[in-house]
């Protein structure tokens, strides 16, 4: 198994450590997501993996082979950049064929492979176009096809969908995931959108300020956040008695039933549910509680006083 292993990676820009002792194992064939706020070092970590920069300390290996000092053009990693970085002086076909040409593949093999990846990305009709003449979504597919055509040992995607609108983004996400399943290539995906991370990954690593805080399946990270930062970054969290509880794990009941007494401060409608912001007036703590939208309006309104209880089933008692 050619797992990708990052061992105690530290990287220093100027005088600041942008990555601090990062250790990660990306299992062979996994769809692995790096999730973290802007500036936390995600791109830097990707650049270390791709070989664009040599880390100040630490080792990178694939399948047990150390590649820390291997230059990027020898690593065989497909990279999809945030702005796609398509070559504007080439057609769609030439972009996809570029890596094959560089590798000196024979012409007929090159053409066959280019055709295969054009088809995989659904770009057959656009092969002769220049890349400026494509929509954002099409450009993204060219970028993915170009990275895949070299049949890389690993696919690295740096926020490839940040330029797209919400609808297209969701569609592209599914497409990328489908292509990844089809090819089985180990994939590192970078995003700062927790929803995106949870919905498409096998594994998620949450980063902050150059450190990896937690690695796990989406469910693990969401349901059992290791600390307050992870809990708050991956969804909304309420700290109660040292626990991090999700809004849907709390409920509101009629006052005097033994929970924490709170007052409703704000109600917002999000579509599938109502979101209450409540305050415990004795110590000023605030909590967020969700209530499913059953089509009959919300139960509580601003100013109401009620009790906050833990409710693993996500039920909300009616008053």
């Amino acid at each position: 198994m050619s797992d990708v292993v990052l061992q105690d990676i530290t990287h220093r820009y100027d005088s600041e450590d942008v990555l601090k002792h990062v250790s990660l194992t990306i299992p062979h064939g996994a769809f692995f997501t790096l999730l973290g706020p802007s500036g936390c070092g995600k791109t830097t970590l990707l650049r270390v993996l791709a070989g664009f920069i040599v880390p100040s300390a630490g080792r990178v290996s694939i399948g047990g082979k150390d590649i820390t000092d291997l230059p990027c053009e020898k690593r065989n990693m497909g990279v999809v950049f945030q702005n796609y970085a398509l070559f504007p002086n080439m057609t769609v076909r030439d972009n996809i064929a570029y890596g094959l040409k560089v590798r000196g593949l024979r012409r007929n093999e090159r053409e066959a492979r280019t055709k295969r990846y054009l088809a995989l990305a659904g770009l057959e009709d656009y092969a002769g176009r220049h890349v400026q003449e494509l929509s954002g979504g099409q450009q993204q597919r060219v970028a993915v096809a170009r990275a895949l055509a070299i049949e890389p040992d690993m696919l690295l995607l740096d926020e490839p969908m940040s330029n797209l609108d919400v609808g297209l983004r969701a569609r592209m996400r599914e497409e990328i995931r489908a292509i990844q399943r089809q090819t089985g290539v180990t994939t590192l995906f970078i995003t700062h959108d927790q929803q995106e991370a949870l919905s498409i990954s096998d594994l998620v690593a949450v980063m902050n300020e150059g450190e990896v805080l937690q690695v796990g399946t989406p469910e693990e990270v969401y349901n059992h956040p290791g600390n307050a930062f992870v809990a708050n970054f991956v969804g909304t969290a309420n700290a109660i008695d040292g626990l991090q509880l999700r809004p849907e794990q709390l409920a509101l009941t009629q006052a005097g039933r033994g929970g924490t007494t709170v007052r409703i401060e704000q109600v917002s409608f999000t579509g599938p549910s109502y979101e209450y912001l409540v305050v415990d007036e004795r110590n000023g703590s605030r909590y967020t509680v969700l209530e499913k939208n059953l089509g009959q309006g919300c139960t509580w309104s601003v100013g109401d006083v009620c009790d906050l209880v833990q409710d693993a089933q996500g039920r909300t008692d009616t008053p």
Binding site: P71, C72, E73, R75, Y98
Partner: protein, 557 residues
């Protein structure tokens, strides 16, 4: 509310006047030259062209010019592009100072550079003598004459155009594309060919045209260093020998060579696709190069910087030596202020400096007067008439300096309606006129940039607040674009204050410019005075440069 809809009589009048001036002083004079080359005793003949092409010596001179042009492009292209790549990808600390140093040859008039090079590398130059002593040789280790020496000097002054243009173009390189190509397995050579070159290609082509033209028409190098005959020197010779018809033919041949190359380069540029500038590009990250490579490039850059600083240091030093000491001592060391005292004590000696200051100022003022309103109209109200006027104003960019001068001689030696029937040749104004003509294209384009970068909404805000067009122009447009416009003017002032090629053909007793005095003093063995003149001009140029930096820092960075 549309400004386009309102008919404004000022604009057509302005365009008509500008077009008339361009026709009278640039286009028609060229036809006078063609007439002078093809009409002898009032009838059409190609005899003079025949005389030119039948004589192998003449043809050889034309070939020499073309070869010098090609050599200039090659040397400047390689050196300038390499320096731009170094500054973009490898330079770390002190980038700004390096950049300004690398640009500095642009700020010193060519004729002074040539003289400084001769003082350093000529037969009795400081560097030559030092090397001779160091190697213990009986005579100079090389002869600073001919093609190589001339190309050396030209390369040193002209690489700046390649460097600056390519450097600016590289700012629009999307660095992610470099990494994309690298991650797909491309070597650095391939990255250059497939990713970097398409981005810098327009800059390379433009610089090719610029440096070829200046190589083909360069005058101070071939004239002062000698040993290699080119068209520009032969034009002056023909003119001195009163063979104006031959001078005209030679100027037309020079023009034909540079136009042919210009068209060829344009054709190549149009045939291949270039990449549009991308302002959202990912920034270049300074690379971690192999230590050996880094050391090698650092040495090249250090040598270049040394080459730039040495001539300036040499002439400043020598200008404080007595002429006798410069001529006789191996390493002059008799300090004196005499050279400067002579210049400031004798009005006759000071006059050329004053002349040049006055003429360059006049030329820039006239040039701005013509180009500022035109640039404004061209940027804000593009039209067919505007395109014609723009073409006419840009015309001098295609004309070698020698040709502009020969045109003026042919057109204005006798009465001409455009000069109200007064012969201009021999009068004071002819040089300011020539300087203005030469400055027009650069002034126009720098004004267009300055005005184009002014956001239209500022102007619309002023109008919406009730200000009329004139008020808006004076109170909003002028103050906001002035720094860029003036900086362009100052740059042209620096160019014109030491102008030599046209000056050599056009100067007279009333307007002897400093460049001519520098050369004649040198030739009359008044070396000390000549160098002191040079230092004074450099001082003026650096003072002007300081002004540009105050006005418009972004111009070069």
């Amino acid at each position: 509310m549309s400004t386009q809809a309102r008919k404004n009589p000022v604009l057509p009048i302005w365009y008509a006047v500008t077009a008339l001036l361009c026709l009278g002083y640039v286009a028609f004079p060229f036809f006078y030259t063609l007439r002078s080359a093809t009409f002898v005793d009032g009838s059409f003949t190609l005899d003079v062209f025949g005389e030119f092409f039948a004589n192998p010596n003449h043809v050889q001179v034309a070939v020499n010019s073309a070869v010098l042009g090609l050599g200039t492009v090659l040397v400047c292209g390689i050196l300038g592009t390499m320096l731009a790549l170094y500054m973009t990808f490898l330079a770390g600390k002190r980038k700004m100072i390096l950049h300004i140093l690398l640009l500095s040859p642009m700020m010193i008039p060519g004729v002074i550079t040539v003289i400084a090079f001769i003082q350093l590398y000529g037969e009795s130059g400081l560097f030559t003598k030092a090397l001779q002593m160091l190697l213990n040789l009986p005579s100079a280790p090389y002869s600073f004459k001919g093609f190589g020496a001339i190309l050396f000097v030209i390369a040193y002054t002209q690489y700046v155009y390649f460097y600056l243009n390519v450097y600016v173009a590289l700012k629009y390189l999307d660095y992610a594309q470099v990494e994309a190509a690298r991650s797909l397995g491309a070597s650095w050579g391939r990255v250059f060919k497939d990713v970097i070159f398409p981005v810098i290609k327009p800059a390379v082509l433009l610089s090719t045209i610029l440096t070829f033209t200046s190589g083909v028409s360069s005058f101070s190098g071939p004239n002062l260093i000698g040993g290699y005959k080119v068209l520009s020197t032969q034009i002056v010779l023909s003119k001195v020998n009163n063979h104006l018809e031959m001078a005209s033919v030679q100027a037309v041949v020079m023009f034909a060579i540079s136009i042919a190359v210009m068209l060829l380069v344009r054709w190549y540029g149009r045939r291949t696709r270039s990449v549009q500038a991308d302002r959202t590009a990912t920034k270049v990250v300074p690379l971690r190069a192999h230590p050996a490579l880094l050391l090698a490039t650092r040495i090249v850059v250090a040598v270049q910087i040394l080459l730039i600083l040495l001539p300036i240091a040499a002439i400043v030093y020598l200008s404080f030596m007595t002429t006798g000491s410069i001529m006789q001592e191996i390493f002059p060391h008799s300090f004196t202020l005499e050279n400067y005292q002579t210049i400031f004590a004798k009005p006759r000696v000071l006059q050329p400096l004053l002349n040049s200051l006055e003429m360059a100022t006049l030329a820039v003022a006239a040039g701005l007067l013509i180009t500022v309103p035109s640039a404004y109209a061209l940027v804000r109200r593009p039209s067919k008439a505007g395109a014609v006027v723009r073409f006419l104003l840009m015309l001098p960019a295609a004309l070698p300096a020698s040709l502009i001068a020969i045109n003026l001689i042919n057109a204005f030696a006798t009465e001409n309606v455009f000069a109200f029937n007064v012969p201009l040749i021999g009068s004071f104004v002819i040089l300011p006129i020539a300087y203005t003509i030469m400055a027009l294209p650069m002034l126009l384009s720098s004004n267009e940039v300055a005005i184009g970068s002014l956001h239209r909404s500022l102007e619309e805000a002023s109008k919406s607040l009730g200000a009329g067009p004139l008020r808006t122009f004076l109170h909003v447009i002028v103050p906001n674009t002035m720094p860029g416009i003036l900086a362009g003017g100052v740059l042209m002032f620096i160019r014109m204050i030491g102008e030599y090629t046209m000056s050599a053909l056009l100067y007279g007793i009333h307007n002897r410019p400093i460049s001519i005095s520098i050369v004649t003093n040198m030739q009359e063995y008044e070396t000390g005075i000549s160098l002191a003149y040079g230092v004074l001009v450099i001082l003026v140029c650096y003072a002007a440069l300081a002004v540009i930096f105050r006005l418009d820092k972004n111009r070069f960075v």
